[in-house]
Every structure is written in structure tokens, then in C-alpha cells.
Symmetry: D3
Subunit: 253 residues, 6 copies
């Protein structure tokens, strides 16, 4: 396999280049945290809802709970899909991604410092163009940070200890046409031989690595190259998250 | 009952004044019609999906089909609601509003001119502040018009006859503190003694009148005043729809 | 539009004439209230079940709760429909009508006087020939009155205050062949250009007005005529309810 | 065990005496067969719907299909039960009885003579006082006979051969207070040590025998006595079915 | 009908001969009772789970609860069936058999002696060749006995009184080719004119008798012969249960 | 982190040592492929069902289809879980694992060589002690191989080309007490800081890599060590698969 990281792709990007990423905080008026995250044409609305109390099985533990639900609007994709509410059941892919987002966020939260409060992250895909789960994790972290700050400002979080122990971001990488590339849009995703989603903390630790051979199996050397790209991409996303959170949070005009 | 239509309301509006209404066409990249409609803080994404063919029971009729699905994002409201997909069933209110939107749009479409094509309108409430169903109908009409134009431009609609026979818009009216008012935000809606949703065509015919006494029953004279306000409000919405559709449809920047 | 209220209809009635209405109280042996209501061939069994206690969200409020469930037997209609229990979900129309009946009855009950008791109204359509929802409301009110009287006789309702603040009845009106008519059977209902259900209290206040243009939109003058007919019809139903309740309640032979 | 078949029971009947049984044909206006069957206070509406065609798996076989669905109205019993449509699933008991009724009717029908037609029997319990499944089978046979006659009169059943090869009826028997008794009402049913439902054809053959020890196991001699009673009771029901079907079928007044 | 009990059947057995029956205790490592029961090629895994406490409706009664759930693996049969978990609902047959197993076991347990403990019997069919419900009952009794012994050894069952008042076993009988036979494999079951499942206690009392005419109705004399065979077969199963329980319970190698 | 690969674990194994693995082919009589796979106390029944034809969306493609369903018996675990069929919905974990097994097997099958046939793999966990999904993949491959051989022997697979392009096996690895270990039983799994499932082909290519930080994030060096262990373990499983398939397939005694 020849991997030439400098040749441009269909959309003109280099192999190790992210799409344009936008993080718009305060996208809703009422939610404790709400972020519209865009990875190119992929747009996900990430909303954090903070409530006092925890699910029954966690009561009295002194620990909080963070969970996530992912969903796609029926026409977020090129052709319309049936609503899962109408079908009466959640599909396997939806379940799988919701669980992934929840685990990723729980990796950077100190549930004892959160106290017996619950934060639910709703990640609704308004438009899908590849990488919806990684955009969701990246945006959800920012919404979570805003909800935690809200809880602290309200006094709902009692401890002075930091609730967030690190930040977390995610990116997709894959092998397309024999070449490892970063942040795949839909057109690359459907043609990828290998597809991998990687979740990394701000300090560079791995939270999740999920690689799948879509066509032929991949080799150890390819896996190594993909991990290099993912580390590079999540580091860049970490910077964008920091920059977004450094801005004052204003109401939407 | 004293109705003083000139005293301002909590948000400063006169009794017969709409909230600020915005209709943003082309909000999504792929859909045949997509409109973000805003009635003040209420924001509904209305998306029209055009597909060749009709449901089985309509095949061979030469007639098209238009239907609608309404849903709320879990945190569109002040406190988070459970997802209907997770609960595994659609609630009664959701069903009711989906049916209302579908009937309203079918009132202004000539299904024979549409031919054996289907247009599905997805109306997803991103943020709710009262009047979500009336905003949905008003925005969905614009998305429908764009999808019809798309079908004609593509040649998917064969006939040269007009497919849309009229336009349609909707508004809520109600009696709040003994006074009939137009276009109720949430804070008025929960305190309304009577709540009414009215769907009116561009040429002034009634499509739907749904009035409910929340507290004490209402009198014929009150009903008349509410209908007057609704006619006034929908006429203004009709103008805004025309203005929006008069603009060229551009891709979102 | 020419409206000639004196010409007979297919079944020989004048435009402003109800079908034969029968209210048979005590149709079941055990229920606290049970009424077989007939509007011509439409037959609905309305059963009121009185139980001590209220749903969890209402506990400690001192207030009672009244709710309703509507359903159709599978062969109540001309052709058999699948059971909703077998399909595993309640349809939108069923939900909508159940909610309408519940709201209508709650408009005439003083939940504080009822105390923390629950009355559930089951309205099961045994045979459908148009107007099932309006028959259901009209019959359910009588069953409700019997259940309230039962609660008072048993001492389960503690207060001496009246629990029912008014009576309530409902009727359908519509425009058929250009003419406004009262109380539509199925054959008129399917041909109606406009269909309206109106719920009115015994003292003449409106509880619900639900009008739908099935074909072309309706005009304000038509709406006014329909409301006149509905007021006339519900006044007549109110008399029949009073007459039925004036009889002593006897066990069925 | 002393079994004294002559001492009267709580309701005054002898051990081998049926409750008053009524079979009212033509209880609905539209159905091809409809019978209100009453075993004392137990009232079941049995409705036969005849349609041309058979389920997919039977197409082209030249054979018809007969099936049944049993259900109870929520307040047919002393205390209200939740609707299975609202719960979203059919309970085990409902399934079991629906299957029993279907099997019992199929035992007396010649599906080849029926031709590729389907008859669905809906047995809805309006009021339950024990023996609802046996009343349902007994009434459903009469509704089935009317639907078959309708099919023959309409020419929908092509063959001249008899479609019904026999009649079928059912009764409950049980051991109450150590004594075998026939046709148990609810008050006996809940106290029975052994409960048995027996389905027998008009010519005396057994179709189903379902006996259950509710408390202590039963002995062979007791089983024999119960079978004797069941044979006696079903023979009497067969006579009543014949008498009912001998009457001309008239529209309900 | 000529019944010749000595002629061999397709598998060489006499009419009154059981298939080879094996009861393997301790088939799982963790369950309080677990038995692999085999009736010829039919293999059912019966697992008893003992837990302290009872369902809410039984709390404070001082009585325990025993219940059962039956299911078939998708490829236990000759052709694969869809999973009930995937279909989202339990079929009628599954419900019916689960209820039968539960009733059968409750007939031999003294719930007061059990105390407020629950034992759930899971009967999963690994391979089906006729008689799965009777094998399940026969095996489940042995698993139940082991779970009761476990509860007594652990001190979770407080009383010294016997918890099991008797043993229970079940067998199928039927009329095949005009001849009554015992313990039908699939190939006989599908051809049986009459099919009967009989549940009998160790001391010879009847718990359940469920006979169904699959083709033509059966006569009283045939019923008597089938009951004779069932008594004979269950007596033999009772011996096998005793022998199995007389062995020491060892961990699986 | 100190990783000492030679110190024994709780069950006496070295860090790089598999549990005892057993692959019993032909465990069922009728299925085209059936394997009981055991990884220590973990026991999964893997059954391959071969049927002619493919799902509708694949018809006419000339290509076959392989899919998988995973499930756990309710008492396969230490404490009993509710059945998913009773709950009426499949959980997220079940969905996720079913999809993983299906993808893993499809990586080694040439669907064109298979022709328009479907093979469904049912993997039912009889007893769970960690690593159920990896055992399922490893066993399912062997069952798949038997089903393919059956299809070729029957002539149902027309082409002479090899249908299986490689073999596939899977193993879990994880970091427990700071040490990377191979093939985790339940007791290690619940205490693992990092948990990874790796699916590898017989020729050493990666099909899936799924690593999750349960506690603190893991470093690149740890990830490398885990991948080394997984490659070693799957190579050993590949040998065991080959040995099992080299044996003649015999009916179970």
C-alpha cells in the first residue's frame, strides 16, 4: 500500500486534514448546554439537560450519572428513513452509537464531584454527511462542559472539585483507495476498505478504538497509520473545543 | 368580558400582533424542500421529501399522496421529555398534530396534477415556545411548494397544471386573562381559558377550526372574536409565505 | 350556497333533525354507571368505573381524576378492521377521540368536590353509523352522572358540594351537497364537504369546536350556520339526558 | 366425596342444570352473522365476518379458513382491567382462548366446501360471570352458521356440499365444595377445586377436554363424573342452537 | 377402533413404551437447580432460579411464588423460526405452555412452607422432537427439587416443613393411525388424530388433562384408553425422577 | 505499567494463555451446522441454518447472505435476567454483538460463490463467564464451515469456487491490575481497566478491533501490547478450528 498524505482528496483536503469544524454554543434558549456542531456538511445538535437526582439504582451513592441518546432526523440523509418512533423500536446502530457517546463522556467526568445529579446528552443529527458519531462526541463534550458550569453557577453541584477531569473528542479515520485518510465524509465512508472511529482525551489517552474492515482485512501497519492520523485529528479538535469554551456564552441573537 | 386589543402583552405585543416570523428556505442541502420556520422562539424544521411512487393502496389511481409527521426533540421544551422512539410508541398528541398537518396541506394540493408521486413533510420541533403546530403548517407549506417546484423542474411531475391550488397557513388564538389574543407563546398558552388553532387558505377559506375550552366554556361572541383574530393573523402569514417564496432559492452558505 | 333546512334527507330527516336517540341506563350489572347510547344505528356502550384513589402524579392534591378510553369493536363497521390490541398499538384516531371525550367530561366536573377518586369512562362502539364520538360523549355524561351518584350514595365522595357543575352533550354537523345538516350518519359523513363536531354544555357554553374541510375550504357564513345547528342539536340532547336521568335506575331484567 | 346432584346451588340450580341460555341472532345490522349469547349474566357478542380470499399461506389450496379472536371489554368484570390495546400486547389467557375457539369451530367445518373464503369470529365479552369461553364457542357456532348461509345465498360459496359437518357447543364443569356441577358462574368458578371446559359436537364427539386442578389433584372417578355432566350440558346446548337456527333471521327492531 | 398395544411403532417402540428418558442434574454451574431433560431427541434445559422476596402483589403474605417461562431456540426445530425477542412479542403457544408448566409445579408446592421466596423455572428447548412441554414439566420438577434443597441448605427457607408435597410429571398420549400411543415424537404428533397432554402427581392424582381432536372428534372409549396410557407413562417418569434425585448432585466435569 | 507475562492469574493461567477451549461439532441433529463452543465455563451454542433464497433487497443479485443473532438464556449469568422476548425489545448490547458476529463472518465469505442462499447463525449463550462474543465468533465460524460443506454436498451451492476465503476467530484481551492479559473470564472482565475484543482471520488480517477504556484512558504502548496478545490468541484459536474441522462430522451418540 502506498500512502501519500499530501495528494488532495475529492474535496481538496490533504489526507491528514479535517473538514471545516464549527462549534456554536448556546444554540437553544433553555437547555443547560446546547451546541450545534458541524464537521463540513454534517450537523449535529448536542443538548445537555441537567437535572437534580439520579436513576433509582444509583440513589444514595453520592455519585452522578451522565448518559446520551443519539438519533437521526428522518431526512438528515440523502433519502428519507422511517422514524424509529413510528417503527416502535430503536435500531441496533442507534443503540450502539448512543452507548458509545455515553461511555466517551463518562471517561472524563468525576461522578463523585458531580454529586447526585444527572446530565443527559441528546445528540440529534440534523444533516448527515459522514462522521456523525464523532461530531456528536466532540460537540457533546462542549455541551456537557456548559451544563457542568451551569450546575456550578446554580450551586446544584456542591463540591469545589473539578467535575471534568479532561476533555474528549473523536474523529473517524479510514483507508480509502488504499490510502489512510482523516475525517471521512459520506462519499469516502461508503468506499472505505477500513473504517475506524477513535475517541481520545485532551491529554492524549485513548477512550475507544473501533476499527472495522469493510472489505478485506487490514494489516498491523495500516492500523498504526490510522491511529497516528486519529491522534493528530483529535488533538486539533481539542484545540477547537478549548477555543469555543474560552468564548463567553451569549444568548443567540 | 372586556377585550382591549391595544394594551400590550407580557412580551409587549398588541392583542392582534404576531410574534416575529422567519421563514428560512433551503436549510438543508439534500432535501427537495426544507424550511426553518420561527414564530418568536418557536423553531420548527420542516422538510419535504419527494419520491416517485405512492403507497400500495393508491397505486394505479393516477393520484399522488402528501402526508406529514410531527415530532419534538426531547429538549425542545423547558424540561426534557422522553423520546417516543425509546418509549416504543407515538403519543396521542403527536399523532393528532401529524394528522392535522397532513390534512391541512392536502387541502391545497391537486393530487391528480401531482401524479403518482409522494411528498412527506417532516416537521421536527427544535425549540418549543407555543404554537408549534401552527408554525409547522405555515413552514411546511413553503417546503411543500419548493418540493413541488423541484418535481416540476426535474420533470417528475408530468402535467403542466398547477399542483398547488392555494396556499395555507395557521395560527393559534386564545382567551388569556379574559382577552382574545393572537399567536400565543408558551407562557400565555398554559394560562389560556380557551385555546384555538385555525388553518386558513391564502384566499381566506377555513380548512380547520379547533377550539378547546381549557377552563370554563366559551361563548359564541368570544368564538367570533377569536375567528376574527385568526383570519387577520393568517392573512399576514400568507404575505410572509409569498415574500419568502418570491426570493430565489439559494444553497446555505 | 342554498341551505334549505326543510327538505328531507336520504333517511327522511329535516336538516335540523336528530336521528332517534336512545339512552339506556344500567345496561351492565356491576359498573357504577353504564349506558347504551344509540344515535340511529350507531350504538356505543359507555361504562363508568369509579375507584378510590388517583394516579400517582395527582396524589395529595385533594382532587379527583376523570379520563376516557374510546375503542371500536372490529366489526362495528361495514368491513372488519384489525384489533388495535393485535396490532400492538393504538391508532391516531383512537387516541384523538379518547382525549376529546376526556376533556369534554372534565369541563363539567369539579375535581375538588370529587375528592381523590378516579372515574374512567370506557366508550366501546358496538356498531358504527357516523357520529360515534358525539354519541360517546353524550352517553358518557349520563354514565358519569350515575357513577357520581353511586359515589355519593356510598359515601366515597365526602363533600356535599355538587360534583357535576353542568351537563355536556355533543353532536356532529356538516355540509353535505352544499347544505348544512345535523347529526350525520355514515352515508352523509363520507360525502360531507365539511365535517364538524361540537361539544356544548347544558347551559349553552362551547367546550370544543372541531371543524374540518374535507374537500374545499368552508366560508365564515357556513361556519356560522353549522354552529347554529350544533347549538340546536345539543340543546335537544341535553333534554334527553335530563329525561333519562330523571328515571329511577333499575337493574336490567 | 359425596356428590348429591339434586341439592340446589347458591343460585338455586341443580348440579346438572344450565343457567338460562339465550341466543339472539342478527344482533348487528351489517355483519354476515352476529349473535348475542347469554349464559345467565355472562354476555358475549359473537360476530362472524365473511370475506372472499384466504391468508397468503393458504392461497391456491382451494380451502377456506376460519379463525377467532376473543377479548373482554375493560369493565366486563367486577373491577376494571386495562385494555390490551393500551398495554400494547395480548395476554396469555386471551391468546389461549382465541386459539381454543378457532380450533373448536374448525372441527365442524369442511374447508374444501367453504372454498377460498375466510370467516373471522370476533367474540367480545360485554359482561363476564364465568364460562365466557364456553358461551363464546356456543354462540360463535350460531354466528358461523349464519355467515355460511349468507355465503351460500350470495353465491360466494360455490359448492353445493354442506360446509358445516356438524354443530359444536361447549360448557364448563367443575368440582365445587366436593361436588361436580355444570356451568359455573364466577362465584363457583373462583372456589372450584377442579375446573374443566369441554367442547362437544352435536353428534356427541369430543373436540376438546381441558381440565385443571386448581387446588388438590383430581381422581379418575371425579374426571368421569365431570365428563358425564359435560356431555349432558352440551347436548342441551345443541338443542338450543338448533332451535335458534330454526327461526327466520330478522333485522333487529 | 382396534388398539393393538404390542405392535411396534416407526421407532420400534410398543404403544405403551416411553422413549429413552435422561435427566442430567447440575448441568449449569451457577443455577440453584438445572436439569437437561431428554425424551429421545427432545432436549430441554430446565433451570431453577431461587431469589429471596416475592412479586409486589404477594408481599407480606408469608407465601412464596413459583412461575415458569418456556421458549424454543430458533433452530430447535427442523426449520428455523424467528426469535420472539426479535418479533417483539411472545406467541400464543409460548404463553400457553409457560402457564401450563407454572400451574403444574404450583400443584405440588406448599407456598407457605416456601416462605417469601420466588423460584423461576426457565425451560428452554434446545432441540424439539415432540413432547417438549411434557419433557419440560418432568425436568422442571427435578430442577425445582434441587432449588428447594438449595434454599433449605442455605437457610433461606426457614420452616422445617416439607416444601414439596408431591412430585409431578407429564406425558403426551395420542391416537395415531387409529391406535392410542404413549409419548409421541414429532413424526407421530403431526399425524395424530387426537393429541393429549396429561400431568399427574407422583401419588397418581390428575393436575391437568388437555385433549384436542386434531381431525375427527374422539369418543369416550378412546379418551379412557388415552388416560390409561398416560397414567402408566407418568408412573414410569415418577420413578425416573426419584432415581435421579436419589443420586448425589455433583458439579459437571 | 509493569507487565509481567509469566506470573499466573487467579485461575492459574499465564497472561498469554487461553482458557481450555472445546469445539463440539454436530451438537444438534437437524441443523446444517451446530457447534457447542466452550471457552472455560463460557458455553455458547452456535447453529447455522442454511436456506435457499435471499432477503428481498438482495434478490437477483446472484449473491448470498450471512447474518447472525446472539442471545443469552435468562440464567446463563450469575443472577437471572429478564427475557428480551418478554420485555418486547432487544437490548442495545444484544444488537451490537449480533451485528459484530455477522460482520466478522461476512469478512471471510465470498457471497458470489455462495449464490443466492442465506445462512443464519444463531449464537445462544447457555452459560456466560466472560468472552461470550468472542467464543460465539470462533464457534460460529466452524458451524458456518459445516453449513457451507452441507450446501456443497447437497448441490445447493452451485459454483466450484471456494465459498470461504479464510477462517476467522476472536478473542478478548484487557488490562487487569495494570497487566495486559488474554481471554478474560468474568472475574477479570469486571475489574479490567481496558477491555478489547479483536477479530482476526486465519491468515492474520484484522477484521475488528474494539477497545474501550473502562476506567482511565489507555496509552498507545498498552494498545500495542494488547494487540500482540490478541494476535497470539487468535492464531491458537485458528489451529483449534482447523483441528476440529479436520475430524469427520458424526452424529451425536
Amino acid at each position: 500500500m502506498t500512502s501519500n498524505l499530501t495528494t488532495p482528496r475529492a474535496d481538496g483536503r490533504a489526507s491528514d486534514e479535517l473538514r471545516e469544524v464549527r462549534l456554536t454554543r448556546g444554540w437553544l434558549d433553555h437547555a443547560e448546554g446546547s451546541v450545534l456542531v458541524e464537521f463540513g456538511s454534517t450537523r449535529v445538535l448536542c443538548v445537555a439537560s441537567f437535572t437534580a437526582g439520579v436513576p433509582r439504582w444509583r440513589k444514595g451513592s453520592g455519585q452522578g450519572w451522565v448518559t446520551a441518546e443519539y438519533a437521526m432526523l428522518p431526512r438528515s440523509t440523502n433519502t428519507r428513513s422511517d422514524r424509529e418512533s413510528v417503527k416502535g423500536r430503536i435500531g441496533g446502530r442507534t443503540h450502539e452509537i448512543s452507548r458509545l457517546i455515553g461511555r466517551s463522556l463518562r471517561a472524563v467526568i468525576d461522578v463523585s464531584a458531580l454529586g447526585e445529579n444527572t446530565i443527559v446528552l441528546d445528540c440529534d443529527v440534523l444533516q448527515a454527511d459522514g462522521g456523525t458519531r464523532t461530531a456528536a462526541i466532540t460537540g457533546a463534550y462542549v455541551a456537557l462542559a456548559d451544563a457542568v458550569a451551569w450546575g456550578q453557577a446554580q450551586g446544584a453541584i456542591a463540591t469545589g472539585r473539578p467535575v471534568l477531569t479532561d476533555s474528549v473528542a473523536a474523529v473517524s479515520v479510514g483507508i480509502v483507495g488504499g490510502r489512510p485518510v482523516l475525517d471521512l465524509p459520506y462519499v469516502e465512508d461508503v468506499n472505505a476498505e477500513t473504517d475506524m472511529n477513535v475517541v481520545v482525551t485532551g491529554s492524549g489517552g485513548f477512550v475507544e478504538v473501533q476499527g472495522t474492515a469493510e472489505g478485506k482485512p487490514f494489516q498491523r501497519s495500516e492500523l498504526d497509520e490510522l491511529l497516528d492520523l486519529a491522534v493528530l485529528g483529535t488533538a486539533r479538535l481539542t484545540e477547537l473545543q478549548r477555543a469555543a469554551l474560552a468564548e463567553p456564552l451569549r444568548a443567540r441573537p
